[in-house]
């Protein structure tokens, strides 16, 4: 089973102080910590587990600048065999549609039985690269996959629906599956493992090597053009309670008491 996994190098933002930069079209990247997209972490783990069971190879691919090497190395340390980085200054400003087109060019001539992507990227959250890639390759897809069984050229998968409901669908291989968090428990990567992975080669391909033209990538090749970023207006802002932890605890206790909750 040869599996390709698309991974994205994204900033951790849940705990970070996000600032919109002076162009108003993106955020300030300085000071942010980047790592593999949470969903992709599960996708890589799933691919490696399948390889360990059935044999084959796992190749990780990213569209990104040199910074993304650390994410690729993490995947190699986790058990991926090869890493490819697609990179070109012209790729700047690509939306997920353009990213899918770039990935398609790199993937179409590679041997594979399965392609995994994350269900969504934690930064821009389009949730569309996987199914678009499938469409461009002319192969089926299933999104938000939480369980995979492979047999006789078919992937039988559980897709997550809303409210705890799942559905089982079968897709013919080769196929693209977008992986939902919780499908497995990603293994711990040791420093040793990462150090070993430092020696592995990362193949880098640019726009012309991929046979892409300028109007297919970047903003020109995208569906979406960002006009401006802004801080979401708050409809209802919480009343903030401050003081020492004891004072705050006392204030909360008062509120709960007044409402008959204690």
């Amino acid at each position: 089973m040869d599996i390709l996994v698309c991974v994205k190098h994204v900033p951790e933002t849940a705990e970070a102080d996000i600032k919109i930069d002076s162009t108003g079209k993106t955020i300030e990247k300085a000071g942010l910590v980047f790592d593999i997209n949470e969903w992709d972490d599960y996708a890589v783990e799933e691919a490696v587990r399948i390889k360990e069971k059935l044999g084959g190879t796992v190749t990780v691919i990213t569209v990104g600048s040199e910074d993304a090497n650390s994410t690729l190395r993490k995947c190699l340390a986790r058990g991926a065999d090869k890493a490819i980085r697609l990179s070109d200054p012209k790729f700047e400003g690509s939306d997920s549609y353009a990213i899918a087109k770039i990935l398609h060019k790199a993937i179409k001539d590679l041997p594979f039985d399965l392609i995994f992507t994350g269900a969504q990227a934690g930064d821009d959250g389009y949730a569309m690269v996987g199914p678009i890639l499938a469409q461009l390759l002319g192969i089926p897809h299933a999104t938000m996959v939480k369980k995979i069984e492979l047999k006789n050229g078919v992937a039988r998968v559980n897709r997550e629906l809303e409210g705890g409901l799942e559905e089982i669908v079968e897709v013919k291989l080769p196929a693209v599956l977008t992986i939902q968090t919780g499908i497995n428990e990603p293994r711990y990567v040791s420093i040793m493992g990462i150090r070993k992975a430092m020696k592995k080669e990362i193949k880098v391909l640019g726009m012309t090597e991929l046979g892409l033209s300028e109007n297919e990538v970047g903003e020109a090749g995208s569906w979406i053009k960002i006009e401006k970023l802004y801080v979401p207006p708050v409809e209802k802002q919480a009343e903030f309670l401050d003081g020492t932890p004891e004072e705050i605890a006392a204030k909360i206790a008062e509120i709960l008491k007044a409402r008959g909750l204690v």
Binding site: T13, E15, D123, G125, A127, Q135, I226, V231
Partner: protein
């Protein structure tokens, strides 16, 4: 007259709420731009749904086919591309749900029409389409323009618009199914219902919701004690279930449960919309998060910007003090 399509979403015999939410926005857009709103309904034996939907829009485009019995993105894609090519709607709205996420991107790519996903608002200016969406877990809003085209696709976030109320007596237009065969590459097998039993968090009056901010499984007893002090139970955000720290019947949110307790205390939860949709209607929401810009503070009644590990023990003590005073 140009049309705006709303793709009806239904599952296991019920029209899903997102359909009526999209109708609200669709109607507003259609009125503003003088276009006609049409609900597109695909399925098998769904005339009852068609009747219901005809009370919400001038037109219901109904395509019935055995092969459309259960949602299958491959079959749906075929029918919709046929319909979109034929009628050239300016805009098609689809829910940003597990159904829409499986369908919209490949449909857009196959037709080569621009798609914006997970939108929380949209407007039509002349024939250009502007959308509002969120990035970075809801910390930033984005206004974006779709590439100029004759037809656009947009997926709409759940619970963003109020549900439309029945106000019309529309026409049901039956269209013959363009499908000649079953989907060749994708097959629906069956639904899997969540296992019964466990703790029913939807019945609890007090929920202490924990998120990734609790950092480690070894911290569970601490928050469990607080829940106990309050006579409530623990609930959580998705990562806690993904890590296996709590069973999935404790998960609050779109892929978990929708809860409406008298009190919801959110500890170390950032407030991603998938979580918020599951708890925002709680009577009283108190959030503790060390990040003052965490989106959870825009749904909370009271906010505490502090390390949860400093607040939780003090709060537990205070509650017991209060209770002792009462006794």
């Amino acid at each position: 007259m140009k049309e705006i399509f709303i793709l009806a979403e239904h599952r296991r015999g019920e029209i899903r709420d997102i359909t009526f939410e999209m109708l609200t926005k669709g109607k507003e857009l259609a009125e503003k731009t003088n276009m006609e709103l049409a609900v597109v309904l695909l399925g098998k034996d769904v005339k009852e749904h068609a009747k219901t939907l005809s009370q919400h829009a001038k037109k219901v485009l109904l395509i019935e086919d055995e092969k459309l019995e259960n949602f299958n993105s491959e079959s749906y894609q075929k029918v919709l591309s046929h319909l979109i090519k034929e009628r050239k709607p300016l805009l098609t709205l689809i829910g940003h749900t597990s159904f829409g996420m499986d369908l919209a991107p490949s449909l857009a790519a196959s037709l080569n029409i621009p798609l914006a996903t997970d939108c929380i608002d949209l407007e039509i200016e002349d024939s250009a389409l502007m959308v509002t969406r969120q990035m970075y877990g809801g910390k930033v809003n984005v206004k974006a323009r779709l590439r100029q085209a004759e037809s656009y696709l947009v997926t709409v976030r759940q619970a963003t618009f109020p549900a439309e109320k029945a106000s019309m007596n529309g026409e049901i237009i039956e269209i013959p199914s363009p499908l000649s065969e079953e989907a060749a590459n994708k097959r629906f097998i069956e639904y899997v219902l969540p296992p019964p039993g466990g703790v029913d968090i939807t019945a609890a009056e007090v929920l202490v919701g924990i998120g990734r901010g609790i950092k480690d499984e070894s911290n569970l007893p601490l928050v469990e004690d607080l829940a106990k002090a309050l006579g409530g139970v623990l609930a959580c955000s998705r990562p806690i279930v993904d890590k296996g720290w709590l069973p999935n019947d404790r998960q609050v949110g779109t892929s978990g449960k929708t809860v409406k307790p008298k009190l919801y205390i959110a500890l170390g939860i950032s407030g991603a919309f998938q979580h918020v949709l599951g708890m925002k209607n709680s009577d009283l929401i108190i959030a503790v998060n060390k990040d003052p810009n965490a989106p959870i503070f825009s749904v909370a009644d009271y906010g505490i910007v502090e390390d949860l590990f400093k607040i939780v023990p003090s709060l537990k003590d205070k509650i017991y003090e209060l209770k002792a005073g009462k006794a």
